[in-house]
């Protein structure tokens, strides 16, 4: 029994290291935060959506629809004339509202005559993240309530309207205003669906490349130290910049090969979930990327990968062996996960200033955001991102080369050892 305890204790000590504990705690924290955010969104859904409306019809069903809008939403604009549409849109935008709803002329008469009544929804879309689609869902819910109440009303009154109209009394026509574009026949939900490749696939693939390639660089440095090959390498007639660049370029190349493999698999995966946007194509709505856009995305990806690997190289210089290298990949994993989640859930433009600064400062955010930004001609974000990440990469590589030229690469652990010795002495 004593021997068994001894073995269990030793195994537990080996297994419960910062390298194993910290990632678990971090993941728990991330999922906890997501859960908390979702609760917040659910609470938000219960709040009345901010809208404006124009009711062009004075019939009974239009009055019913208006009463639902009045009761279940916060109205910031109302009118009876379509000529006021632009004023209405301005009012809704100024009040951080979601949509301007127009109950069209002859709404009630059409329904009573077995035709669908027209509801035009002019969406003010703020962002293309999942959370943005959830906020627009509140308005969708409002329209469903109107339909439900009209259906109920028609059936209760036992009118002669046919079943199809009774079940679908209105015809919703969506127009979405997003990042300076007017997108006809598209609701925010449909746009978010169309942008799923940019919102999900690219961030996930980017995160995978950074983690995989970054792990390779850190491990490579750790293996050089563990296998005692680093000292020999550093005394060969080769420039420090060549060693650093060689390691970064090799890892970036392998990382990109992995990215292509992931991209193929992940695009099939997302295609499998793309049913709700089947038949719709970004190009049909003037949202396609041009050749120059693809070049910019490529540059953004390249500089982000180089900066990630330079950062990993810097961390790798601290690695004493392969095991310690695994712990050092954690900051990089976190830096890749944060922008990935932000890109998925929210839009950069809708973030508070402090979070915007944080996301912009993380170099890996930029290729994740680039495609979506370019679709909406936000060249400033992409180009400024490329410039920032290039500067970040140059500075980081310079620091790495400097570390390679100093004693720190070989004696980095001495201070820690010395510190440990002092601590031991102090304990005694």
């Amino acid at each position: 029994m004593k021997s068994l305890n001894n073995i269990i204790k030793k195994e537990m000590k080996e297994l419960l290291t910062p390298a194993t504990i910290i990632p678990i705690i971090a993941m728990a924290f991330i999922f906890g935060s997501i859960g908390t955010s979702m609760e917040g969104i659910q609470e938000g859904l219960n709040e009345k959506p901010v809208i404006g409306y124009i009711v062009q019809d004075t019939g009974d069903l239009a009055i019913l629809a208006t009463s639902i809008l009045d009761n279940r939403s916060e109205i910031v604009f109302n009118s009876t004339s379509i000529d006021d549409k632009s004023i209405g849109l301005e009012q809704v935008t100024q009040n951080d509202g979601l949509a301007l709803i127009v109950i069209t002329q002859n709404f009630s008469e059409n329904i009573h005559n077995e035709k669908q009544g027209g509801i035009e929804v002019y969406w003010i879309m703020k962002g293309a993240g999942i959370m943005d689609s959830i906020s627009s869902e509140a308005v969708e819910q409002l329209i469903r309530s109107i339909n439900y109440q009209i259906s109920k009303n028609l059936i209760e009154e036992n009118t002669t309207v046919n079943a199809t109209i009774a079940l679908n009394p209105s015809n919703k026509i969506d127009t979405t205003y997003f990042k300076g574009k007017e997108l006809n026949q598209l609701s925010p939900g449909a746009i978010i669906g169309l942008l799923s490749t940019q919102s999900f696939l690219i961030p996930v693939v980017m995160m995978m490349i950074i983690i995989v390639a970054g792990n390779m660089v850190i491990s490579s440095m750790a293996m050089e130290k563990e296998n005692k090959t680093l000292e020999t390498l550093l005394t060969l007639p080769v420039k420090r910049t060549s060693i650093v660049t060689g390691k970064i370029v090799a890892s970036a190349t392998v990382g990109l090969i992995f990215a292509i493999i992931y991209m193929v698999g992940m695009s099939r995966y997302f295609a499998g979930f793309g049913g709700f946007t089947a038949g719709l194509n970004l190009a049909d709505f003037g949202l396609a990327l041009t050749t120059s856009d693809f070049v910019l995305i490529g540059i953004s990806l390249f500089v982000a990968l180089i900066s990630a690997l330079a950062l990993c190289m810097l961390l790798g210089t601290l690695a004493k062996n392969y095991k310690s290298a695994q712990t050092l990949t954690f900051p990089i994993t976190m830096l890749a996960l944060v922008p990935m989640f932000f890109t998925m859930f929210v839009d950069f433009d809708t973030l508070p200033l402090a979070l915007k600064a944080l996301v912009f400062a993380i170099p890996f955010s930029h290729p994740m955001m680039a495609a979506r930004a370019l679709i909406f001609n936000d060249y400033l974000l992409v180009v400024s991102g490329i410039i920032y990440v290039t500067i970040f990469a140059i500075v980081t590589i310079s620091i790495v080369v400097w570390v390679f030229k100093t004693d720190k690469l070989l004696t980095g652990s001495i201070r820690l050892k010395k510190f440990a010795d002092i601590r031991k002495r102090y304990r005694r």
């Binding site: 090959t229 000292e231 005394t235 007639p237 080769v238």
Partner: protein, 237 residues
């Protein structure tokens, strides 16, 4: 001109002073031994001369180049064999030698690699992965790597460390032959017999200071002892 000229060399690791102002020089074609107890500063001195560590104060010249000012030029002249050096495990012995040769020359690359293969003397095993080598085989490969480039200065930290008697003898013979071909050698060793056999001159270092130096024979006469081991014991005590 000396091949190596060390003047008032000081090396600090933070508050720890590992080398406290040492002076020595090595002539061309000489085998110079740095000996001393564990932690005396031997390896630190070799690492500083090899451009691996920065000089805190003082100066080192390797031929006409200053180690502090022209480390890249110095690296073209030297070959450093660390005590516990390793080779890339996923490469074969020959591929490792080729990898190293690629840093030095394009013209005589084949000859350089063949020289490394001959020194390593691993026969057919040279084409096996380094991962499968015994400690002795690895050391032979690394000695081959260090000497195949015909360096002007070979810096060898415990060159026969971990080798059996036969292999150690062979390595010593190779070092002697290399010197005949024009290489200067600076080595450190714990093996006093090796030092006595190989070195033209030695310096005894203790606690970062050179406390004795000279030709092995002169030192044995000075301390009236039959071997360097006893010189070492007397001087260090």
């Amino acid at each position: 001109m000396h091949t190596v000229e060390v003047k008032n060399l000081v090396k600090n690791y933070g508050a720890i002073q590992a080398i406290k102002g040492i002076n020595f020089d090595i002539d061309q074609g000489e085998i110079f031994g740095l000996i001393g107890p564990n932690g005396a500063g031997k390896t630190t001195a070799l690492r500083v001369i090899s451009t691996l560590l920065q000089i805190t104060s003082g100066s080192i010249k390797v031929l006409e180049y200053d180690v502090k000012k022209d480390p890249e030029e110095v690296r073209k002249l030297i070959s450093y064999l660390p005590e516990d050096a390793g080779a890339y495990k996923n490469l074969t012995g020959r591929a490792y030698l080729t990898f190293i040769a690629n840093f030095f020359t394009d013209k005589n690359k084949k000859e350089m690699i063949e020289k490394g293969v001959t020194i390593a003397d691993l026969e057919n095993r040279i084409d096996d992965k380094v991962d499968t080598y015994s400690k002795g085989m690895k050391r032979r490969l690394l000695v081959g790597r260090a000497l195949m480039t015909d360096p002007r200065l070979a810096i060898l930290d415990e060159p026969t460390s971990g080798l059996d008697v036969v292999n150690a003898q062979e390595i010593r013979r190779i070092i002697k032959d290399t010197v005949k071909a024009g290489t200067t050698v600076l080595l450190s060793s714990h093996n006093m017999l090796e030092v006595e056999y190989l070195c033209d001159r030695i310096a005894l270092i203790s606690d970062g200071i050179i406390i004795e130096r000279g030709r092995p024979k002169q030192l044995m006469e000075k301390y009236n002892v039959p071997n360097i081991e006893e010189v070492f014991t007397k001087v260090v005590k």
